[in-house]
């Protein structure tokens, strides 16, 4: 009895971690430190209404290039993503234009806050505040517990509204979410590249504007990322841009990246994809944010989650775990040896031994790459992957599955309605958002 109590207490402590922003943190890692206590059972389901996405899917094909299966590069709002803290669950709705706060235990709606258009990312939670942007061109801050409006700022340069897909939107909607870090909050108002876009930085305590910068020929859309001294903002079909956190000035584009699935590793490598529609398979690439160079390409992959030097991904009908550190080292070695090889001339006899040595080493490194695969299992393609402590959680069509991260062993699964694009493990629960607008919440069985 005593030991059971201790275990319960430990579980309670271990499962207290919130999920305060889109994909957990400003690096959009999708990694939570807490392992969920299994088995879980569905506690409640909320019907949030079918998401009204900002953009349609991609073309069926590039018929000229016989390139089929073009990837969607602007699919940043396929479901009502959630954030969670203090026993409350939040989501923004592209359907009813409101931010909703639900009781995590019961699903009861605690409060809702209407905006004048779609909300495409969940509120970012900071202390008692919930921050969110809307297609109406405004950014809002409300009391996270009560929903009481605290502050509102027009990010668009005018209050003009235009029709879009049956709603009214600002020609400068806020579709980056709000990134809050170190007492500052960033968001962007942007839509079409022939109009100037605006990046705002405000003091998250006083709400005073720190700066606003103007950016030409960009379309800022998708969750903004923050890491090091930079901000990164996806653009969909164009490469993400990097900006200086301090002054909002453009520092460059990450040319090897693209799409709206972006996450930033602890050493500021940007994992993003798909980079373009030219590739015949879905790709996610790792790019060095300093040099902009491509470090690694994951082929036939639409989602990657990285933790503790390991990458979890799905490729060629297999769910895999890779030793990313070793893979990176080997690929760096290969790259440098190939560069060295290029400098040598096989016509010069004296260089032949060195050439042979390098070739052998490259060959060995390539062979060693196979050893980076820690495990793999046959599996259907997930639409989302995240990590909760020792668990890998996969969102699939009509299903969510939890695996043991170290082995790939399936631990638990449950049906859901629709494609499980949004996964939020928080405070001991697993919240699953689907493309049909459903929010399923699973809690440990009593």
């Amino acid at each position: 009895m005593h030991s059971t109590l201790i275990l319960l207490v430990l579980c309670a402590v271990a499962s207290a971690t919130p999920w305060p922003t889109y994909r957990h943190d400003n690096r959009r890692s999708g990694v939570s430190s807490d392992t969920l206590a299994l088995p879980l059972a569905e506690a409640w389901t909320h019907d949030g209404g079918a998401p009204q996405q900002a953009w349609t899917g991609p073309a069926k094909w590039d018929a000229y290039s016989s390139n089929e299966g073009l990837q969607s590069m602007r699919n940043f709002d396929p479901c009502h993503f959630t954030t969670a803290n203090h026993g409350l669950i939040y989501f923004g709705s592209s359907a009813d234009n409101a931010v909703h706060c639900l009781d995590a235990k019961t699903g009861e709606e605690k409060w809702l806050h209407f905006t004048n258009s779609s909300v495409r990312f969940p509120p970012t939670l900071e202390g008692d505040k919930a921050w969110f942007g809307s297609d109406d061109g405004f950014v809002y801050c409300a009391n996270a517990h009560t929903g009481k409006p605290l502050w509102k700022k027009r990010a668009a340069p005018s209050d003009r509204l235009i029709p879009s897909n049956g709603k009214l939107i600002s020609p400068w909607p806020v579709r980056t979410g709000v990134t809050v870090e170190n007492g500052r909050a960033w968001f962007a108002a942007s839509l079409v590249p022939w109009k100037t876009s605006y990046l705002w930085c405000i003091d998250s305590h006083s709400s005073e504007v720190a700066y606003v910068t103007e950016h030409k020929e960009v379309t800022l859309q998708g969750a903004m990322l923050a890491g090091g001294d930079r901000l990164y903002i996806p653009q969909g079909r164009a490469a993400p841009i990097a900006l200086d956190q301090e002054n909002g000035k453009l520092t460059g584009q990450i040319g090897q990246a693209g799409g709206v699935f972006c996450l930033l590793t602890e050493d500021n490598q940007l994992i993003a994809g798909p980079p373009s529609q030219k590739e015949r398979d879905e790709q996610i690439r790792i790019a060095d944010t300093t040099s902009g160079k491509r470090l690694t390409t994951f082929n036939n992959t639409n989602r990657v989650v990285v933790t503790k030097g390991k990458a979890f991904l799905h490729s060629n009908d297999k769910l895999q775990c890779l030793d990313l550190v070793r893979k990176g080292k080997l690929e760096a070695t290969i790259a440098s040896e190939q560069a060295a090889l290029k400098k040598l001339d096989p016509k010069i006899e004296a260089q032949l031994p060195e050439i042979e040595k390098l070739k052998k080493s490259i060959s060995q490194s390539r062979a060693d790459l196979d050893g980076c695969l820690l495990w793999q299992i046959d599996h259907a393609t997930p639409v989302e992957l995240i990590i909760a402590g020792d668990q890998l959680i996969a969102g699939l069509n009509n299903e969510v599955i939890i695996f043991e991260a170290s082995t790939g062993k399936q631990l638990w699964k449950a049906p859901v309605k629709g494609k499980a694009y949004g996964l939020t493990p928080a405070e001991g629960r697993l919240i699953v958002s689907t493309d049909l607008g459903h929010i399923h919440t699973f809690a440990p069985k009593p």
């Binding site: 209404g49 079918a50 009204q52 953009w55 349609t56 899917g57 991609p58 073309a59 069926k60 094909w61 590039d62 018929a63 000229y64 290039s65 016989s66 390139n67 089929e68 073009l70 709705s93 359907a95 009813d96 234009n97 409101a98 809702l112 209407f114 004048n116 258009s117 779609s118 005018s158 209050d159 003009r160 509204l161 235009i162 029709p163 879009s164 897909n165 049956g166 709603k167 009214l168 939107i169 020609p171 839509l191 079409v192 590249p193 022939w194 109009k195 020929e217 379309t219 653009q235 969909g236 079909r237 164009a238 490469a239 373009s276 529609q277 030219k278 493309d435 049909l436």
Partner: protein
């Protein structure tokens, strides 16, 4: 259900298949006479293979990859899967006379698909034969020592549909039969010359020394025979291949979320059943209760964002007949949710009276209790946005609507502290009104928000006004604007001269998933009476031009027509109707709802042999023409730009055998004219006169497929002008000598007709050739201007091509009364002198259109560009990519840009539909500075 049901009843006989994936001994009696096999004596069959599970598993056939089979046991050809036949097999192939027969289902068009091949194609070394396809056309290629000669089916095959193919060679000609019908024939002579280097004999791919083109699909049988089929055998195959016979082809129109109407008309009475489902296995079955020929079935509970397959079957005296498997995509269903009206709200009823019952936009300025707003939503399909200055009231009503599932979907409430000026772009509301007894803003504000072309403003006292079209706006009712093909409608675009003079009016659907792939050389969108009509991949979507609201969507499997520069569009519009050519009929659709009002037929002598070609309307007359079956272009996969310099297939025009007039009052035919072969892209209509070029070469008329390269066509050409109301000839003249092309050299890449108020302008793109007859890459646009009164030649003049790629040399002219632009310059009218300036830069494949103040084109960085007549300078919209012909229209007082570039996988294109409104008309206050700059 994976395989066509039409084959299902023959499954028993197929189970008796021998394991005959080998060469028959000459005296072996065949145990299997397949349904579509030729009923020949056994000695005719040289070899037979059936790539199915049993033959793969018993190693009779060896798959190159790990084999996968469909539910019928057919080997799935995908990725690199193919079958290499034993080398000895090839040695027994006949040299002088043979037939190769295959039953196939190609799931993906591609370049150089091989179904059965034993061939090498290495530069000048071309040997053997290939039964296969290129793009979406079946082909049979064979070498008698020289290059491979090709018999290619002119009609596209439908991916995913089973077909019976038969390639034959008799020492004199190569022929290809598709489903028992001769699709192509070309002369050849001498014995077949096979490769003399190691060459694989392959099923499911084209493979030679250095090329490998595996296919995606199924091949259920392959046979090689050393005799040719009799006419009776071919007729039997054709009969067995026949599917459902339609008098009106099927279409699916979306009604509401999850609900669609499938309708068609059968040729013969009989029970009709539809099987449909989210995969090609179909699943749900629904039977038509109609006792006549017209069938209308409601498909319900459809999943969102799902590509459905369906097939229609009908009972006939010979048993059931099945249509091909068609598709529709519920991702294109944007119809709003209907609400149940609680009570008939008198004000709402009054406000909505006679307003078209279609989706749209309503704006309510000032709420009372919200009941009118809710009733308007319930009693219509309008999306309603209400502005109110009482935050408490707004929030209370929002919560109420939210609990009813209405907020944000059908009704949106917006709090606005001051209602005097609504921060909404102008010209949006199909209905603009207030709930209050006193108007909270000036009446002019309501009027500003009201959509032109019939949008309604209702004042608190019940006064109703209907807004007129924007002054200076033009109607884009035909491919190139008016039926006179000028690519200029008189649209002023509010005096705009640069991209910055235009503001976003709306943005949204349809997106990239709507179209074919850059809408390659397909029919342009149309805009008329406030509506925007747009064609995608076998689908039509109609939008409100002013607010982007999708009014209706229809999926029509037989809609597609491409290569419009060498043909004519398959549709046109007027204030009330959309006219769409589908196979042999003209569908007249209600422009506001998409409901089919009636169909017009071709002249009686052409109904079985022709399809509807040209379509135009003016006043009370509808004009249509007949083109021969299979003459129209439908290919879009692979190299389908139709602009390769001098290539026969890329200079070929679609030709009409006759042209006819119909009356709008009773939809009956009035007259028909048919003498020679009418060159479709030259047909122009204006002020009751119908002008075109006609080839009166009798030999060609008797021998054409209905599509001819200009080298065959350009003899005995006449310029003809008819009275569009009577069909009588007003004048006809032999066409004068072309300026570059002669009978000995050169070619005509494209030929266009257009009319001004004074003349008929024929613009030819003439290319030069060298002494060997090969294109030099140089060419001219030649202009031939005929007096509209008597056909007298006013002038001939010319300008040089700027380039010979990306459509530069097939530029359609923009015709003003005083000048004509092609690329990069043009001529002045009426004297024909070359202009003293150029426009541009023009980049990419799109056409150019005109406004009163400039040209719109694909220009800077291959983005949409506005070139100013006054300033002779371009400005552009970054990352906005139009289609590869014409997808943008200055019309209705707007610049309409429905999505056209999707599929272009390079570039960061916006891939969205949108419209611009002149800044002066947008409701945005005009600054003094911009007013001054205007002056």
């Amino acid at each position: 259900m994976e395989e066509d049901l039409i084959f299902a009843r023959f499954q028993i006989s197929r189970t008796r298949l021998v394991s005959a994936s080998h060469f028959h001994s000459r005296c072996m009696k065949p145990l299997y006479i397949a349904l579509f096999s030729i009923s020949t004596a056994c000695s005719d069959i040289i070899a037979e293979w059936n790539p199915n599970k049993s033959q793969i598993e018993n190693q009779t056939l060896k798959a190159s990859e790990t084999p996968e089979f469909d539910t019928n046991g057919n080997l799935i050809f995908s990725n690199n899967q193919h079958l290499i036949l034993p080398e000895d097999s090839a040695k027994k192939l006949p040299l002088n006379k043979f037939a190769v027969e295959a039953r196939v289902r190609i799931d993906q068009p591609q370049r150089w698909g091989g179904i059965v091949s034993y061939s090498q194609d290495n530069g000048q070394y071309e040997r053997g034969w290939i039964l296969g396809f290129n793009g979406d056309h079946f082909s049979f290629r064979l070498s008698t020592g020289g290059l491979l000669l090709e018999a290619a089916a002119p009609q596209s095959f439908e991916p995913g549909h089973w077909a019976h193919l038969l390639g034959t060679y008799d020492g004199k000609k190569i022929q290809l039969y598709v489903n028992g019908v001769l699709a192509s024939s070309r002369p050849a002579s001498g014995p077949i010359v096979f490769p003399d280097i190691p060459t694989p004999f392959v099923i499911g791919a084209y493979k030679d020394k250095d090329e490998f083109y595996p296919i995606n699909g199924r091949i259920s049988s392959v046979r090689i025979l050393d005799s040719l089929p009799s006419q009776k055998e071919l007729a039997d195959i054709a009969k067995k291949s026949a599917g459902v016979s339609f008098s009106v082809r099927p279409a699916v129109r979306f009604l509401s979320p999850g609900k669609a109407l499938l309708n068609w008309e059968a040729s013969h009475p009989g029970k009709a059943i539809v099987a449909y489902g989210p995969t090609r296995k179909l699943g749900a079955v629904i039977e038509s209760t109609s006792e006549n020929l017209r069938h209308e079935l409601i498909l319900e509970n459809l999943q969102p964002h799902t590509r459905y397959s369906y097939r229609i079957s009908s009972e006939t005296d010979d048993g059931p007949r099945f249509s091909p498997i068609y598709e529709f995509d519920t991702g294109m269903n944007y119809m709003p949710k209907s609400l149940v009206a609680e009570n008939n709200h008198p004000a709402a009823t009054s406000y909505l009276a006679d307003l078209p019952a279609q989706p749209g936009f309503a704006v309510v300025v000032g709420l009372s209790d919200g009941s009118l707003t809710k009733a308007l939503a319930a009693q219509s399909l309008l999306n309603i946005t209400a502005f109110d200055d009482d935050l408490e009231r707004v929030n209370a009503l929002r919560k109420k609507l939210y609990t009813e599932g209405l907020h944000g979907t059908r009704i949106t409430l917006i709090y606005l502290p001051d209602l005097k000026t609504i921060p909404l772009t102008s010209c949006v509301g199909n209905l603009v009104c207030t709930e209050r007894t006193t108007l909270p803003c000036p009446p002019s504000e309501l009027a500003r928000l009201t959509r032109p072309n019939g949008g309604r403003t209702v004042l608190p006292d019940g006064t109703v006004t209907s807004r007129d079209p924007i002054p200076g706006s033009g109607e884009w009712t035909h491919q190139y604007g008016p039926p006179s093909n000028t690519a200029y409608t008189g649209e002023r675009l509010g005096g705009s001269q640069a991209s910055g003079d235009l503001e976003l009016q709306w943005i949204g659907r349809p997106g990239a998933n709507f179209g074919i792939d850059r809408q390659p050389r397909m029919s342009a969108p149309l805009a008329s009476n406030g509506r925007l009509f747009h064609q995608g991949l076998n689908r039509i979507m109609t939008l409100d031009a002013f607010n982007g609201q999708i009014l209706w969507g229809m999926e029509i499997p037989d809609l597609r027509r491409v290569n419009i520069p060498h043909d004519c569009a398959n549709w046109c519009a007027d204030d009330n109707y959309l006219y769409v050519a589908i196979k042999d009929l003209l569908w007249v659709l209600d422009g506001s709802t998409g409901k089919r009002i009636t169909t017009l037929k071709l002249t009686a002598d052409h109904r079985d042999s022709h399809e509807w070609g040209y379509i135009a309307q003016e006043g009370e007359v509808v004009i249509g023409s007949s083109v021969r079956l299979g003459a129209e272009f439908k290919k879009y996969f692979g190299d389908a730009w139709y602009d390769k310099v001098g290539r026969d297939s890329d200079t070929a025009n679609v030709l009409s055998d006759n042209i006819s007039g119909y009356s709008k009052s009773d939809w009956k035919g009035r007259w028909s004219y048919g003498r020679g072969l009418i060159i479709n892209p030259t047909i122009s209509l204006s002020d009751g006169k119908l002008c075109f070029l006609e080839c009166r070469n009798p030999d060609l008329k008797n021998d054409t497929s209905g599509r001819e390269a200009t080298k065959n066509l350009w003899k005995d050409i006449y310029t003809v002008c008819l009275d569009a109301n009577t069909g009588k000839i007003i004048w006809e003249k032999p066409f004068p000598k072309t300026l570059l092309r002669t009978d000995e050299k050169g070619f005509i890449q494209v030929s266009y007709g257009a009319m001004t108020s004074q003349g008929f302008l024929v613009t030819l793109s003439e290319g030069d050739t060298n002494e060997e007859g090969k294109p030099t890459g140089k060419g001219i646009f030649s202009y031939h201007y005929f007096d509209l009164a008597d056909g007298g030649l006013n002038f001939q003049s010319q300008t040089n091509w700027r380039a010979n790629h990306h459509g530069a040399h097939i530029s359609h002219p923009v015709v003003y009364e005083d000048k004509v632009y092609t690329d990069p310059t043009g001529i002045s009218l009426p004297d024909g002198k070359p202009l003293d300036h150029k426009f541009g830069p023009r980049e990419g494949c799109s056409a150019v259109v005109g406004t009163s103040y400039g040209l719109l084109l694909r220009g800077i960085d291959r983005c949409l560009t506005f070139w100013s007549h006054d300033q002779k300078k371009p400005t552009h919209w970054p990352r906005l990519r139009p289609s590869c012909w014409l997808s943008f229209l200055p019309s209705q007082g707007l610049f309409l840009v429905p999505e056209g570039g999707g599929g272009c996988s390079c570039g960061g294109w916006m891939e969205t539909s949108l419209a611009f409104i002149p800044r002066n008309d947008s409701g945005i206050p005009v600054s003094k500075k911009s007013e001054e700059s205007k002056k």
